[in-house]
Amino acid sequence: MIAGRTLSAEKTLQTEHLTAYYGSVCALKDVSMRFEAGAITALIGPSGCGKSTLLRCLNRMHEIIPGTRVEGEVRLDGKNLYDPAINATEMRQRIGMVFQRPNPFPTMSIVDNVLAGVRLTNKLRDRTQLQELAEQSLRKAALWDEVKDQLHRSGTSLSGGQQQRLCIARALAVEPEVLLMDEPASSLDPISTTKIEDLMRELKGDYTFVIVTHNMQQAARVSDYTGFLLAEESTPGHLIEFGTSSKIFTTPKDKRTEDYITGRFG
């Protein structure tokens, strides 16, 4: 359905002076950055630097936590996602998310997990089309060969790495333009991690990826661009430096970026 499409430049996701609060605590301050369409952008930084909060602001998942608040703008297609006229639910079909811990829906089979997004939004009803979509999504997530004979088993019967790829397949099935990944491999073994990195490389171009990671090798390996965030004394998390990953990891401009990537703190 969308195979081979290339995202045009105006599909670039960007933030303008994005500031986020939990109650009265400011977790993220004045972040303005671009997430190149069809590229992989990594967000790195020590714990508590606001990188996950930034990620969750990009598809308005931040606001589902009670007491949270966002200022500034997030734009896709030039439209502000925080515009009151924008329906957050519909918008999330364009900007999907994969979480730190695999969270397949426990009452659903593997194939039902993959199709949950389109079924529960009434986007697709035709049985053969649904089957095709399930296979296509599982193939993209590099899981098809492992599960094609057990599609009706419970999603939670899979191994952790398979569950995470199932969640990726589930996110891909709603055909988003952007996929946000919150430390998607942090709970997985090295082989599963490699699989997920490989499939991200495979899929970029068709999808814009934003990945939060603690693992700097992973950011260096997989991403085209990297943003370094840091919360300092008296300053909430903010963007310290942004650039191509090769630049950030070889010749960072900021001393703090250099200290972080060389492992002097964090």
Partner: protein
């Protein structure tokens, strides 16, 4: 032994003395557990001894007969009980389950706090007071006793049980489940009702069944509402017999036949409630996710 217990734990106590103390305490625990189980066994055995003689086909299929005529049954009370409890479930479960889902997944702030608090208070209201309440709001205006008014009284008793068990059940579902659904662009109400709540289904169904078991044996609220009847009462808007009422009325009577029927009724009620409890456990095991 007591003197030894008062000594500080560290130091002088030998391994041997600690071991014998441990053996003693385990014995005490066994004794208490045995006592708790024995009480139940005593009640059940006594009910069987006195009630089993009353149980025959007629008991389950016939109406009670006037004093002095042998035989007769409690069929109308059995049906009445089932009818009242079913109606009460119909009233209490939808409201209770949705309120529980609200409290467990959505409710925050003052409203949720008040609902939770009031529901806890409702749990503690004596069932006879709830019977009087149902009497005042239904029996008095309609000018007659009815199965409906009894069902309303029982529903009020069931409500807080269903609310709190549902709340606990949905609260146990990890937040990652509804989040995962929302992140797919699934609307909030579907993320809750079609993705999150099914994960908690075992707990919800078990809670609902236990609330049924809890009210099936209530007699006080029925005194002012169902009132009792010696006849079939297919119309839920008329006085209706129920097992607990029948037991209460017949056990108080001076006639041996009726007392016998009361024992039979008590035994059937015990068996019924026991069966509901077992069903609840089996359902939980069957429906539990993962």
């Amino acid at each position: 032994m007591l003197a030894r217990m008062k000594r500080p734990l560290s130091g002088v106590r030998t391994l041997r003395s600690r071991q014998s103390w441990s053996t003693f305490m385990i014995a005490v625990a066994w004794l208490c557990a045995g006592l708790a189980a024995a009480l139940l066994a005593l009640i059940v055995l006594y009910a069987i001894r006195r009630g089993a003689a009353a149980l025959n086909l007629q008991f389950f299929t016939h109406l009670p007969l006037p004093v002095g005529i042998a035989g007769g049954g409690v069929a109308n009370a059995l049906i009445g009980s089932v009818e009242i409890v079913l109606m009460a479930s119909l009233f209490a479960m939808p409201v209770g389950i949705f309120a529980g889902i609200y409290l467990g997944l959505l409710g925050r702030g003052k409203l949720a706090y008040s609902v939770r608090f009031l529901s806890d208070v409702l749990t503690g209201v004596p069932s006879i007071a709830i019977g009087v309440f149902a009497y005042t709001i239904i029996v008095v205006p309609t000018r007659h006793f009815s199965a409906i008014s009894a069902a309303v009284a029982l529903a009020i008793i069931m409500l807080p049980i269903v609310v709190r068990t549902t709340e606990e059940a949905v609260r146990l579902v990890p937040a990652a489940i509804p989040e995962g659904a929302l992140a797919l662009g699934i609307p909030t109400y579907k993320a809750i009702l079609l993705v999150t709540v099914p994960v908690a289904r075992a707990g919800i169904v078990t809670g609902a069944l236990l609330s049924v078991a809890r009210v099936a044996g209530e007699s006080a609220p029925l005194l002012f509402t169902a009132f009792g009847s010696s006849f079939w009462s297919p119309n839920p808007n008329t006085p209706t017999s129920a097992l607990p009422l029948l037991i209460f009325q017949y056990a108080n009577s001076p006639y041996r036949d009726w007392q016998q029927l009361a024992w039979g009724g008590a035994l059937s009620l015990i068996v019924l409630i026991f069966a509901i409890n077992i069903t609840a456990r089996l359902m939980f095991r069957r429906m539990a996710v993962r």
